[in-house]
Amino acid sequence: MNNTLFDKVWDSHVVHKIKDGPDVLFIDRHMVHEVTSPVAFLGLKNRGIKVLFPEKTFATADHNTPTINQHLPVKDPLSANQLKALEQNSKEHGISYWGLGHEKNGIVHVVGPEYGITQPGATIVCGDSHTSTHGAFGAIAFGIGTSEVEMVLSTQCIMQPKPKKMRITINGDLNIGVTPKDVALYIISKLSTSGATGYFVEYSGAVFSNMSMEGRMTVCNLSIEMGARGGMIAPDEKTFEYIKDREFTPKNEDWNKAMKYWSTLKTDKNAIFDKEIEFDGNKINPMITFGTNPGMGIGISKEIPNAKNQEGGVNTYKKSLNYMDFEEGQSMIGKNIDFVFLGSCTNGRIEDFREFTKIIKGKKKASNVTAWLVPGSHKVEKAIKEEGLLKILNESGFELREPGCSACLAMNDDKVPAGKYAVSTSNRNFEGRQGPGSRTLLASPLVAAAAAITGKITDPRTLL
C-alpha cells in the first residue's frame, strides 16, 4: 500500500463523492463554543431541525469569558448573552455543555485532548481555526466557518475538496532553550503565512517523535498560521499513553479493538506527498516575531531583516514595521516590553507553565511588566497548584488567572492598550489582535518568562 496517514483517515470518512465537487466527509467529533455557534443554531431553528448527533457534539465556553471572578455574573451584556445562548442551545439539543465554572471548562482545544474526546483516526471540526491542534493525535482536525458549523450540527458532515498533502520532516536534536513553539515559528518564518495554503501537513522526523504530546499540540496548533488546512502527527506509544483511561477514550475490549485500528495509522513507505520539505533541527534557535503576521519571525538574537530581502511587497512590510514602531536592522534583544501573556490553546498547557516557572524561579517579576498567566483549563489550573508551580509563581510576584482564551483574541477585558508591547505565547500577532493598537511579539513560554523577569526582550538561554 502507498497511502499517507492523511489519506487513510480522510478516505475512511468519505460518505459520498460529488463529481467534480467536494467530498462529503463524516465528522466524528464536533467542538462548539459560544462565539461562532449562535447563528448556526439559529439556522437550525429556521429550518426546523435538531442536531443530528448530539452525542458527537461538545460545547464549552472559552472565547468570551472573563479570567477573574468567574463566579460572578459576566458584566459585559453582549458576552453574557452569547454564553446564555450556548447554554440554552446545548440544553435544547441535548449537547454536553461545559460552561463557565464547570470543572471541565477550558479552551476548546485544551479540554478536547484532556478528556479523551480527541482520538487518533478521528475527524474533528470546530468553528475556530486552531482546531488543527487535535492533529497531534493523528486525527484530521480543522477549523470551519459558521455556515459549516450549521452544516455539521444538522448533518454531521462537511463538504470539502480533499486538500493536497505536504510532509515536513525535521531530524536532529533541538538545542537547549528551543521549544516546540520555536520549531513552529521557525517553520512558518521559512514557509510564510501562505506557504502551505491548500495543503494538509504531516510532521515527521526525530524532532516530532521525541516531542511530548503537549509539544506536538503546539506545533499542530500553529499549522494554520502557514496557511495549511491542518497538521497531523502519526500516533505512537506516547499518544496511546496520553489518551489511555481518559473519560471519553474506549475502555477494556473496546480499547484493544481501537488500538488495532490506531496502530495502522501511519504513512506507508511508498506514499507520495504533493510537497516534501525538510529542515535541520540543530539550526533552530529561540524565536520571536517582530511584525504583524506569524511569518515575520527571527531567531531572538538576530536583527530585523531589511525590506529589500523580503519576499512580499515592500510596502506591506514597511506598513507592518511602522505599526510595530520598529526599524530594519534593529536588534530584538534589549527592546522594552510592557505585557507578558502566557496562555492560549498554543501554550496554555501544564508543560508551558513548567517551562515558564523554570526561568522565573527565585527571581522577581520586572516592575514595568503586567503579566497575565492564564491556564488553558481548570485541569491545567489544578495541576499548576498540585505541582507547586503556583507557589513559585507567587513568590516571584506573579498571579494566576482563571481559564479561557483571554488575551489571545482579547474579546474579554484582557486587552493590551494601544502602543504597548506584549510578549505573547499565543498564535497571532495581527494588528490589534490583543486590543486596538496593541503590539504583539509571539514567542515561547521561555522567552515570555525571560521578558517578564527582565522587562525586555532577553535570550532565555542566558537565564537557564
Binding site: L42, G127, S147
Partner: protein, 198 residues
C-alpha cells in the same frame, strides 16, 4: 441560509492593495459578540476605517467617496488568520458581492462561497492591471462573469479566466446552500455512522 444568486456582476470596485489582509482586520474580535447575523458591515475594517474616537480615518479607502462598488480588490493572501465567518458576513453586509485577489486563504474562501460572496483568484499581473486602472479612473468597471468564469476590465477590455469548482459554481448561480444538498443524504449519512468506529 440561502442567499442572493450570482451570475454576472458589472460594477466599479474598491482597491485595497495590501497583502495578508487577515480576518482580524476585516472584523476585529470585539465585534463578534452578536447572536444574530446583522449589522456586521458597519464594523468592516473597523480599526483601519475609524479612529479610536469613531471619527473616520480620511486616508482609508472605504472613506474615500471616489471609490465604490460591489467588488473589493485585495492584495495577495487575502482573508488569512481566524476562521470567523463574520469576516465574510461583514463584506457581504457592507454591500460587496465579490472579492478579487491573487491569492486567498482557504477557510476565508470557503466561508465566502458558503454565503454568496464570490472569491475570484486572478494572476498577480492581472491584479496589478486592475489596481492601475481603478487608480487612474475610479469610475472604471469590472465585469465578473461566473457563467463563463471570466473577469474583464471593461476599459481596456482585457480578460482573464478564473477557476471555481463546478459544484460550488452551480450553488452560487442558483443561490443554493450545502445543507439542502446534505439533508437529502441523511439516510446515507445515518447508515454510514453505524459503521464508524468512533
Amino acid at each position: 441560509m440561502a442567499y442572493e444568486n450570482f451570475k454576472v456582476l458589472k460594477s466599479k470596485c474598491v482597491p485595497l492593495p495590501i497583502e495578508n489582509v487577515d480576518t482580524d482586520q476585516i472584523i476585529p474580535a470585539r465585534f463578534l459578540k452578536a447572536t444574530e447575523r446583522v449589522g456586521f458591515g458597519d464594523n468592516l475594517f473597523r480599526d483601519w476605517r475609524y479612529n479610536s474616537d469613531d471619527s473616520p480615518k480620511k486616508d482609508f479607502i472605504l472613506n474615500n467617496t471616489q471609490f465604490e462598488g460591489k467588488i473589493l480588490v485585495g492584495g495577495k493572501n487575502f482573508g488569512s488568520g481566524s476562521s470567523r465567518e463574520h469576516a465574510a458576513w461583514a463584506i457581504y453586509d457592507y454591500g460587496f458581492r465579490c472579492v478579487i485577489s491573487s491569492f486567498f486563504a482557504d477557510i476565508f474562501r470557503a466561508n465566502c462561497l458558503n454565503i454568496g460572496v464570490l472569491p475570484v483568484q486572478v494572476s498577480p499581473e492581472f491584479l496589478d492591471k486592475i489596481f492601475d486602472t481603478v487608480y487612474k479612473d475610479p469610475n472604471s468597471e469590472i465585469i465578473v462573469d461566473l457563467i463563463n468564469q471570466k473577469v474583464t476590465i471593461l476599459k481596456s477590455n482585457i480578460s482573464e479566466s478564473f477557476i471555481i469548482n463546478s459544484y460550488k459554481k452551480e450553488n452560487m448561480l442558483n443561490g443554493y446552500d450545502d445543507i439542502d444538498y446534505l439533508m437529502n443524504l441523511k439516510n446515507t449519512i445515518k447508515k454510514f455512522s453505524e459503521k464508524t468506529p468512533l
